[in-house]
Amino acid sequence: MAGDPQPTVTSIIGRSLAVEGEIRGEECLHVDGRVKGTLKLEGDLVVGPSGVVEAEIDVRDIFILGTVTGRVTAHRRFEVQPSGRFEGEAAAGAYEIHPGAVFEGISRMLSSRKSPGEASAKQPQPSPSGMPQKT
């Protein structure tokens, strides 16, 4: 629901912990340790200053204060704090990269707005503005 900006439950991966594999869930996660693999959350991901995440990430918001490498989809917001470092491919609804932060890679906007006609038409063909296609 739109009224709840942040789910109340936050899982924590502490500094001395490492997770390798797949993490999925409907809550927020704070990583101060290491995560390698896949991360898919309905909530937010905070990577603390000591956190190192190397993963395929799909979250609502991401706040990077540590190091993140990989492909990130942030449906709402992608934020890198001054201490943060990101390397990889990002797709997000909005970006905030603070001065001092490192962002190396590719960024793409997730547009939430679709024209009503397109949305209902199920896109039988790639949009004309897309990549040139040869068949």
Binding site: V9, T10, S11, I12, I13, G14, R15, S16, L17, A18, V19, E20, G21, E22, I23, R24, G25, E26, E27, L29, D32, G33, G37, V46, G48, P49, S50, F63, L65, G66, E79, Q81, P82, S83, E96
Partner: protein, 132 residues
């Protein structure tokens, strides 16, 4: 956004864990992990996990947690559901809400009345029996 103080405390983390500041990690009820969790410090699991836990600290499995796999820790307290091989250097305690099936191995083992325990139990005598 005032979410965090801008202090860069711990930003240059050298990778050496200070035993004094062993913190607690939490896998919440609506989180599921498939894979391996390893490290020191304490861990509370309320969500689900399939795979492996290798912890030099303490593990608490709290309802509605569901764990399946191979679990090692210094001390383990189970109040949720666990299936697999579980071993503790020091001790394992099954609370009355615990549902366990598999192999249990520890220096000391306690089981509360009401706990479900299906499987094998072994006490490893070689582990140091000193109080933890």
């Amino acid at each position: 956004m005032g979410l965090f103080s801008s202090k860069k405390k711990g930003a240059d983390y050298p990778g050496r864990e200070s035993r004094a500041g062993a913190e607690t990690s939490l896998i919440g009820a609506r989180l599921s992990v498939q894979g391996k969790i390893s490290g020191s410090g304490s861990l509370i699991v309320m969500g689900s996990l399939e795979g492996e836990i290798d912890l030099s600290g303490e593990l608490v499995v709290s309802p509605p947690a569901k764990l399946r796999g191979e679990i090692r820790a210094r001390r383990i307290a189970v109040a949720g559901t666990v299936e697999g091989q579980v071993s503790a250097q020091e001790k394992i305690h099954l609370e009355k809400s615990a549902v366990f099936s598999g192999e249990l191995k520890a220096g000391r083992i306690s089981v509360a009345e009401g706990a479900v325990l299906n499987g094998s139990v072994a006490m490893n005598r070689e582990s140091d029996p000193q109080e933890g």
